[in-house]
Subunit: 104 residues, 2 copies
Amino acid sequence: MDNGHEYFAVIFSSKRTPGDNGYGEMAERMMELAAQQPGFIGVETARDEHLGITISYWENQEAIAAWKKDAKHHEAQRLGHKKWYQSFSLRVCKVVRESHFERR
Amino acid sequence: MDNGHEYFAVIFSSKRTPGDNGYGEMAERMMELAAQQPGFIGVETARDEHLGITISYWENQEAIAAWKKDAKHHEAQRLGHKKWYQSFSLRVCKVVRESHFERR
């Protein structure tokens, strides 16, 4: 996608508090809801015992801003601060270059 | 870091082939080696049964290009294509906005 249509990545890396406390269900709901938003391109997520990383891809920064303000997402963010996350970093990034490999 | 010193993220998301085949040791060596490169800021990584995501942060794109061409890293890339990865995506991104949360 060099020199092609630009797009954005939101990198969310987090450390969880102990226990589930409803997190798993909400995370799943938020993934489903995000996927229905205008401008959503895709999502990748991985979590191990140390860290969770979720990267969502968006067509533009307006789509990211709209998702941030979505009412259901806003409630999830509130609960994240209140109980689910020990710490997190959120970075909005512009993708400037990419490459892909697939084994045949 | 809004409006501050710009920096870059390299998002590497991968699906592994079955078995370790020397991957774990090499991945650890590459993390150590990357951390010694000029312009390296930090790294975050998470892997579960579906996907691995490693994000490295760099002061500028020249540092990313230099690390890509590093001889030992080049050999690791070769082996990645040859045996370790079923598929991967690599995206170089410019961080445009960020926020952080830490529970007190």
